[in-house]
């Protein structure tokens, strides 16, 4: 009796299991196909950048060999880039501009958000509405008059022209404000009884509790500033203050194009942001997700 039961059930169980297997296989095939779609340009870039022979790069471009590192493999293109232009200078410019903007931005944007979220003072409501209204103004709409202004004060071709206008950001203030207002007010009250000043409360209570929002703002600002192109294109002339984005575009527009060198340059622009992303992946996902939770 029991054996009949088992034999009766086995085929059914098997078919269920194999059906599940098929759906898992289909699932993975779809996931992998999409992964190929997202990865192929990036792999193409990295593989081509280490092919020393320019004619080979052009020959391989049209077929699957574009993704296979073979032939003369090496870092010749990378050395070429360093030899032909002050690449280190461009990299320093980008890191310095983005780093300074993001770090000073974290201080200034969080401290005004702290005042707005945690201190009750006259004018608070007006400032909050003003900042929410300012979020709507896109940078592109004001670049021309801003160019006129910085031109008049002689800021063209400098670091400050790429840093100072972008430190305070209405959307960053808004993200901080939303986070701070959710923290329990009893924390401030307790500290106040102990005689802490507002600045001490900000420094010792609010900041340690707010690491997620600091990470969010830092990452979003990093992404936007690192890829910024329109403004540096307008305000930099020579190579002294030029960031990577403008430098690679100018290198790319020169003829004749040496694709190996262009790919090596592109790879070196991509590697820092890719590494930072891979190291802080969880935070990236978290910050992008929380940028959507508004309104």
């Amino acid at each position: 009796m029991t054996s009949a039961d088992i034999t009766g059930k086995i085929p059914q169980r098997l078919s269920l299991k194999s059906r599940k297997n098929i759906s898992v296989i289909l699932n993975y095939s779809l996931l992998i196909a999409i992964a190929v779609f997202f990865l192929f340009p990036i792999i193409f870039m990295f593989v081509s950048s280490i092919k020393n022979n320019e004619t080979q790069i052009i020959r391989d471009m049209s077929n699957i060999k574009a993704f296979i590192p073979y032939g003369e493999i090496g870092l010749k293109n990378y050395f070429d880039v360093f030899q032909q232009m002050p690449f280190g200078r461009f990299m320093f410019n980008s890191v310095f501009i983005v780093g300074t903007t993001v770090l000073t931005g974290l201080v200034l944007n969080s401290i005004i958000a702290y005042a707005l979220a945690r201190i009750n003072f006259k004018g608070r409501g007006f400032i909050i509405s003003l900042i929410i209204a300012l979020i709507i103004i896109p940078a592109e709409a004001v670049v021309i008059p801003l160019l006129l202004m910085v031109n008049r004060i002689g800021w063209l071709d400098s670091y400050q022209v790429q840093i100072v206008p972008f430190i305070v950001d209405a959307f960053s203030i808004f993200l901080f404000y939303q986070f701070f207002i959710g923290l329990p007010i009893s924390l401030d009250e307790a500290a106040k009884i102990d005689g802490a000043s507002p600045f001490q409360i900000y420094l010792r209570i609010i900041i340690p509790l707010s690491k997620p929002v600091f990470a969010t703002v830092a990452i979003l600002q990093f992404l936007f500033r690192w890829g910024d192109f329109l403004w540096p294109l307008m305000v930099t002339r020579g190579y002294e203050y030029r960031p990577l984005t403008v430098a690679i575009q100018q290198f790319f527009s020169q003829d004749p194009k040496v694709w190996g060198d262009i790919f090596a340059f592109a790879a070196m622009v991509t590697i820092p942001s890719l590494v930072i992303f891979l190291l802080f992946q969880k935070w990236f996902v978290h910050s992008v997700a929380s940028s959507g939770i508004k309104g």
Partner: protein, 315 residues
């Protein structure tokens, strides 16, 4: 709600100790002053200046013999009659009409795919997101080569899967292909961002809803249609609006790959603004473009507010 409890907690303190309140107000203003000053100088002032000079014929380098004049609405009238502005606006609208629905749909699809409990699913999330952290200038350069009419990989691939019937296309030099080419690479680069926003949205849907759905005999397609989609309503509105605004800002890809060509077929509002303001030095005219651009973004944002309010009223 939070600010209400905040206020009610606050009032007794204010009555008890006036000097403390005064001190706090001073502290608050000292925290606000510097950030507000920055916003005033670098955002509010140029914003007002944009409106003011859009009514003038101001140029970047002023000629002392030709002082800037007030020309009322002439810049705007010229814009409305300019065929290159029409072309740019139409390109932007076309870009919005194709990219926004497509990218939103693909983002949702990807989010559902990577929301499954499978091994290595985090790896796939990472891969799908990686174009977002690749700088747009770099993306444009790599795709420029992929679109190469002769040896480009994309033409070869299309020819391969169509058994040589389709292509080769002259992607970036063909007036009818250049915009689709830019659309594809823009979606490729941007969709991971919206995927993550959707993923966060999916994870906030309570499991009980799906359980209840299953009890009522809903299959997985019905569950998706009647539970997932309505629950993601606000996320979808946010994704649509933010993608629309991004699509109106289209510049980097175009500038790197085509500079708006061929024959203006990929010209966008911001490309026109850059050319007029920076290359031609017509600052007044370019500011008028900036003002119109702002009005477009503003109306899109107002649309979002109205929609979100409606949702709240229903819920």
């Amino acid at each position: 709600m939070i600010s209400q409890t905040f206020n009610s907690n606050k009032k007794p303190v204010r009555k008890k100790s006036n000097p403390l309140q005064k001190k706090e107000t001073m502290a608050a203003w000292s925290f606000c002053t510097l950030p507000l000053l920055f916003l005033f100088i670098f955002l509010i002032t140029p914003f007002i200046v944009a409106f003011v000079i859009s009514f003038t014929d101001k140029r970047l380098i002023t000629n002392p013999n030709l002082p800037t004049q007030f020309i009322a609405l002439r810049n705007f009238l010229r814009l409305f009659n300019s065929s290159s502005f029409h072309q740019a606006l139409w390109n932007n609208i076309l870009f919005v009409l194709v990219v926004v629905p497509l990218q939103t749909f693909l983002a949702l699809l990807l989010a559902v795919l990577v929301n499954q409990k499978l091994r290595f699913i985090n790896l796939f999330r990472t891969i799908y997101f990686s174009p977002v952290v690749t700088t747009m200038v770099v993306v444009s350069i790599v795709w420029y080569l992929l679109y190469n009419p002769g040896e480009g990989l994309i033409n070869q691939f299309i020819s391969f899967i169509s058994f040589g019937k389709l292509g080769p296309y002259n992607w970036l030099n063909d007036t009818s292909m250049v915009l689709p080419a830019i659309m594809i690479l823009s979606i490729w680069q941007g969709v991971g961002f919206q995927m993550v926003i959707y993923l966060a949205g999916l994870q906030t849907i309570p499991h009980e809803l799906y359980e209840a759905g299953r009890v009522d005999g809903a299959n997985s397609w019905q569950q998706f249609w009647y539970i997932t989609i309505p629950q993601l309503r606000n996320t979808t509105i946010f994704v649509i609006i933010s993608t629309t605004i991004l699509a109106f800002k289209l510049f980097t890809q175009v500038w790197v790959m085509t500079k708006g060509g061929p024959q203006g077929a990929s010209k966008t509002i911001i490309v026109l603004l850059y050319q007029e303001g920076f290359t031609m030095l017509r600052v007044g005219y370019a500011s008028a473009i900036g003002v119109l651009f702002f009005l477009i973004v503003l109306s899109v944002s107002i649309f979002q507010r109205i929609y979100l309010k409606e949702e709240r009223a229903v819920a």
